[in-house]
Amino acid sequence: MGNVVQRQTRGALRFQLFRKMAGLELLSDQGYRLDGRKATELRKFQARMGVFAQADGSAYLEQGNTKALAVVYGPHEVRGSRSRIRHDQAVINCQYSMATFSTAERKRRPHGDRKSTEMSLHLKQTFEAAVMTQLYPRSQIDIYVKILQSDGGNYSVCVNAATLAVIDAGIPMRDYVCACTVGFVDETPLADLCYAEEGGGVSSLALALLPRGGQIALLQMDARLHQDHLEALIEAAMTACKGVSKVLDQVVRQHLQEASVPSAE
């Protein structure tokens, strides 16, 4: 990996066509996807932990062209209404947002719109399942995630970035939470969908997994899919998530190495 070449193609192409999903072939006869990956191949990962000193934990993650920044504050005292205080565990507060410049068309994205609220909720559920909240009763953990550039698989990128940030903050978790979006095309599950694939009418499924135990933290799917295929799809998603966990593990280990070297001096 590495060696990133930028390439420009000018000239109006056929957005409408691919909108209509008439022409675009998501999986070619030779088994290539639009961007040249094979069905099970993930996009390229690039990650950094500890990008902000101010926050307790932070991480920046690029998964292909989807780029997300996650920041974790806490655990700290519960702010706001005291009614939210849980006596046996910490409260996890998630906030998801997209930058106005994150998509091809610039768009103001006010906080609290339906989509981001839903996404925030999903994130919260995911991390409530993963973080060992019982260690921090009567306290609160804030996870803020911002999508800087969106190119498909926003949820999974957010989860992966937040995982790294939580680890950076030193909050204990049961396992890495790894998420991946998979789609189903031509009887073949495609791992780690990009925007064009997501928009191409694929029935996609997002899965967050605690890979070591194989527990599913969250599974979300709002498309139609034949029951017979579901098993295969989940199987593919779990494989992909395990792949992600390997990458994340590598990132964390590398970060630790970097962090420990200066302290040793």
């Binding site: 990133v4 070449v5 030779q30 961007d35 040249g36 996009r43």
Partner: protein
């Protein structure tokens, strides 16, 4: 895997432009699906065999446009790149793409896909500003290069593209990949129809000059069912199989084509791979006479009919009327040509009549040249104004007020051939300002007043484009009420005209002022050439218009007319001399006129006789055309219809130069001036025919003058080579040429605009005009061809009635003008016939010359040298040299299915003495007088030109141009039959 990004600009559903970034992953291992692969690609599924001669990689355009061809199972080893697949998908749509996908999946096909855009080394990012097509071609090329390297050079890779630039660019790169694209029009050789054809490549901007001569296609199999005129794709054969053209005279060869190479050096040879565009038209065929008894049943039979045109293969027709149609000429259409069949299938459309009858033959000529001249329809005739005895046509008072009235002020007269009905040009000349100024006027029939743009008559005229003159008849472009009456500028009647009037200085003849406009004229005299010449020469002549007058009045009028004619001749000489100095060519064509008696029997074949007055009239017309061309080109720089005559290709002069060298002359063909001068000097004082023949050869080497729209050519392309004018058009014959009508309209619009008024209707755009020009050019070519063939037809008819053994007129004097391997080409000036004479016949016998020159067939051998050919037999050796005079016997070889041809047979190697010793000499006397006059004029002008500034040569080399030698040569040149009309085909000395 390497990740890159591609940035696309897409249109969003709301029509806004969006910039989208997409990832693009490259990998090193992309399967190549070739069994030759050394790198161990994971080739599962279809694999290209390794025993092919080459792999083919079509680019995006080719894969899309020629998918049907690529689908042939015979084609093996095709690699479709991802780029071209996507190109097909986007440009051709889903259906075509699906076909391509199925093709790739089909296990019976030897074609594989290659994901070149995901291959790390074959992927090339699109550059800024690069067009999509260019990028695709580049991608495909780089994929081809990758393949070649991937297979370690074990397999040749051929990339096919239609992009000529790409061919030029990539074929020069040394990467082991061949980039090809050749296509052109099939041109079947007229003479060896069964064995040879040549392809003229058009628009092939290849550096490879080998192909500029065209590609030879030998044999019927290589021709692959292409018919004369089709657009085909050819494949070049390897150089070892290239062949030269057959240079021997084949039986039935009519006339050699210009530009045919005399040496049989190998030229590019190829075979037809496919036909891009059929160019089938209606063909005239003859049903062959039946052999054997007629069949009992009246079922449909399949008959092989023989087309009139030698170049067309026999056509299979199934018909029930085979018996009735025997020996009839029938119009047929070709329907199909199965790949398994030797002949195409067709069906008959119309029966023309029995072969050999005059009417049938004329119809045949018309149809073969795609000329359709039905009688004018009622609707068209209804548009015409009426001019009958009861309802005579009158001028519109509004028009009278608008036009300049020249009826009283000017002496207008016309000079035309005898019996001419469509008089479209008249002349006037008068002195002004006490003799200091001259006013020359050319008045052309105002056809556009009667033929409004877009009317039915206009459309019909446009589709005919010209009046067709055949040897014995003509087909008018306009209905006769116009062409022979209302538009025709007849004597003594008021007519509308378009006029060009120059005010010239009487001394120097410099143009002071030009006036263009519509006018009213009344022609006072309707002269014919012979009469005008007689008046000029001061001979007694009866002018019909003056017949009824008293002798005194008659004399004064006659004097007035003669003076005008003289003035005109004076001006014309000046103009001619001016053009001559610019390098105008005087060329020579062969033309004869068949003299017919009342019953349409041919009494004699007469070459046309030139008179000085011909040239005078022509010169005035050229002048008018030139000025009109200037006017419309200046007013409408991008949409004027002009006529240009491109300089001929130097290669075409090779025969001329060779022949001239053999005769001991040098011909300089570098410029038109040099050519004109060297032609003038190439004179054999013993034999005027030599010069004439050289001129004929020069004429055949010329390219055709063509109409064009000024928007399509650059300014330096406007030049008229033959006339040595920078701009030229046709203006003076609107009755018989549609181009002139267009020019008239342009001129009218220009005049209106000069007055500051908007011309109202929008003029034809550059593109429309170019289409019109193209159409007119085609029709003109057809008209010329038809005229030529009909003349040949009449030549044949003339000789058919005579017995070649007994009739004296069948033996004629001929001059050798070219040498071939087994014979010579001769020219018979008496009849204007060109043709081959065989010195070796089919039995292998050769012509042996007896002691007193008589010839007979004997066995022997023929040897050909550059300037002579000699036959050796038991009687000794005899030699025929270039430009020798020999006697030939003319006979007609009748064929049932084709046009009759004349056969020439040598009877003696001496000139024929009995034939009236060189016709030109008999009428040379009066010509000499004119020539001397003209020379004096020319010399005077030369002097005048020298006075203001010494000519360049003089200044630099102190050379003087003594007129002595020149005038001598001119004199002799004039002895040769000058043929104005013939020259008109190429250099249009007539208007």
């Amino acid at each position: 895997m390497i990740k890159t990004e591609r940035i696309l600009h897409l249109k969003s559903c709301r029509g806004r432009k969006v910039r989208v970034v997409r990832e693009h992953y490259l990998r090193e291992r992309v399967p190549c699906y070739s069994s030759l692969c050394q790198a161990g690609c994971e080739n599962d599924g279809k694999v290209l065999p390794g025993d092919l001669t080459h792999y083919v990689i079509p680019d995006a355009g080719v894969s899309g446009d020629y998918l049907e061809i690529l689908e042939f199972r015979e084609l093996q080893g095709i690699i479709f790149t991802q780029t071209s697949c996507q190109g097909v998908q986007h440009s051709k749509g889903r259906r075509q793409y699906k076909r391509l996908r199925n093709l790739l999946k089909d296990p019976r096909h030897d074609c594989v896909p290659f994901a070149n855009e995901f291959q790390e080394y074959s992927y090339c990012p699109r550059e800024k500003g690069e067009s999509q097509e260019k990028w695709q071609t580049r991608c495909v090329y780089s994929a081809a290069v990758w393949y070649y390297n991937h297979l370690a050079g074990m397999m040749d890779v051929v990339m096919i593209t239609e992009d000529q630039e790409a061919v030029a660019q990539y074929s020069s790169l040394n990467s082991g990949v061949y980039v090809i694209s050749v296509q052109g029009t099939l041109n079947v050789s007229k003479h060896r129809a069964h064995s040879e054809a040549s392809i003229m490549t058009d628009g092939l901007s290849n550096k490879n000059t080998d192909l500029s001569w065209g590609v030879l296609v030998c044999g019927g199999k290589n021709r692959n069912r292409a018919v004369h005129g089709d657009q085909v794709v050819v494949e070049l054969l390897p150089k070892s199989e290239w062949r030269g053209k057959d240079n021997t005279l084949a039986e039935g060869q009519g006339e050699e084509k210009s530009g045919e190479e005399s040496g049989s050096k190998p030229m590019p040879t190829g075979r037809v791979m496919g036909i891009l565009q059929r160019n089938w038209r209606d063909y005239v065929v003859t049903f062959p006479p039946r052999e054997g008894p007629p069949p009992q049943t009246r079922n449909t039979q399949r008959i092989l009919a023989v087309p009139w045109d030698h170049r067309i293969p026999k056509i299979r027709i199934s018909t029930q009327q085979a018996d009735a149609l025997q020996d009839h000429r029938v119009v047929v259409r070709i329907d199909s040509w199965e790949s398994t069949s030797l002949y195409p299938n067709g069906h008959s459309v119309r029966v023309l009549g029995k072969a050999g009858e005059l009417e049938t033959e004329i119809q045949t000529i018309l149809i073969e040249n795609c000329i359709h001249v039905p009688p004018f329809s009622d609707a068209q005739l209804k548009e015409m104004p009426v001019n009958s005895a009861e309802k005579p046509w009158r001028m519109d008072p509004a028009q009278v007020a608008e036009r300049r009235d020249l009826r009283e002020s000017h002496l207008v007269f016309s000079i035309d051939p005898k019996g001419c009905e469509d008089v479209d040009d008249t002349l006037s000349v008068r002195s002004l300002a006490g003799g200091k100024l001259l006013e020359l006027g050319v008045h052309i029939a105002d056809v556009t007043h009667f033929v409004t743009e877009g009317s039915l008559t206009d459309l019909e005229a446009r589709s005919r484009a010209t009046t067709y003159y055949l040897a014995d008849r003509r087909y008018d472009m306009l209905p006769s009420v116009l062409s022979a009456d209302l538009c025709s500028l007849l004597g003594g009647v008021d007519r509308y005209a378009m006029s060009v009037m120059w005010e010239l200085d009487a001394e120097t003849l410099v143009v002071n002022k030009v006036w263009f406009g519509r006018s009213l004229i009344r022609s006072s005299y309707q002269l014919h050439y012979e009469l005008a010449q007689a008046l000029l020469d001061g001979e007694q002549a009866e002018v019909p218009e003056l017949a009824g007058l008293g002798s005194e009045e008659k004399d004064s009028k006659l004097a007035q007319l003669t003076q005008a004619l003289e003035m005109l001749t004076h001006v014309a000489r000046h103009l001619r001399a001016q053009r001559d100095r610019g390098g105008a060519l005087e060329l020579e064509g062969v033309e004869v006129r068949a003299q017919l008696d009342k019953d349409k029997n041919i009494t004699a074949l007469v070459p046309r006789q030139p008179l000085e007055v011909h040239e005078t009239v022509a010169e005035c017309m050229i002048h008018a055309n030139h000025w009109v061309a200037r006017k419309i080109q200046e007013t409408f720089p991008h949409q004027a219809l002009l006529r240009r005559h491109p300089p001929p290709r130097q290669e075409f002069f090779s025969q001329l130069v060779e022949s001239a060298t053999a005769g001991g002359f040098t011909i300089d063909t570098s410029t038109n001036k040099a050519l004109a001068d060297s032609l003038d000097q190439a004179v054999d004082p013993q034999d005027p025919m030599v010069n004439r023949l050289l001129r004929i050869m020069a004429t055949t080497a010329m390219s055709q003058a063509v109409y064009f729209s000024t928007g399509l050519q650059s300014l330096d392309q406007f030049y008229h080579y033959g006339l040595a004018l920078d701009r030229y058009t046709h203006f003076t014959s609107p009755i018989r040429r549609y181009a002139d009508i267009v020019v008239h309209r342009l001129l009218t619009a220009a005049i209106t605009m000069d007055r500051g008024v908007d011309p109202g209707k929008a003029l034809a755009s550059n593109k429309e005009l170019e289409e019109t020009a193209h159409h007119i050019n085609n029709k003109n070519r057809a008209a010329q061809q038809a005229q030529k063939i009909s003349t040949e037809l009449f030549q044949c008819l003339y000789f058919k009635e005579r017995d070649p053994q007994s009739d004296q007129s069948c033996v004629a004097d001929a001059v050798i003008y070219s040498i071939r391997d087994n014979g010579i080409l001769v020219f018979i000036s008496e009849y204007g016939v060109k043709g081959p004479v065989y010195l070796r016949n089919r039995e292998g016998q050769v012509v042996a010359v007896g002691p007193e020159g008589s010839c007979e067939w004997q066995s022997g051998s023929v040897r050909r040298y550059s300037d002579h050919i000699s036959t050796t037999s038991s009687c000794g050796t005899s030699t025929f040299r270039l430009f020798d005079h020999i006697s030939v016997r003319i006979s007609v070889r009748s064929t049932n299915c084709h046009a009759d041809t004349l056969t020439l047979e040598v009877t003696s190697n001496r000139p024929l003495l009995s034939a009236g010793p060189q016709q030109p000499r008999s009428q040379g006397r009066s010509q000499l007088v004119q020539e001397v006059k003209r020379l004096a004029e020319e010399a005077a002008q030369e002097k005048a030109a020298r006075k203001p500034k010494v000519s360049k040569e003089e200044r630099e080399f102190s050379q003087s141009k003594t007129p002595n030698l020149y005038s001598l040569l001119e004199e002799i040149r004039e002895l040769a039959l000058l043929d104005l009309e013939g020259g008109a085909q190429v250099c249009e000395t007539t208007a």
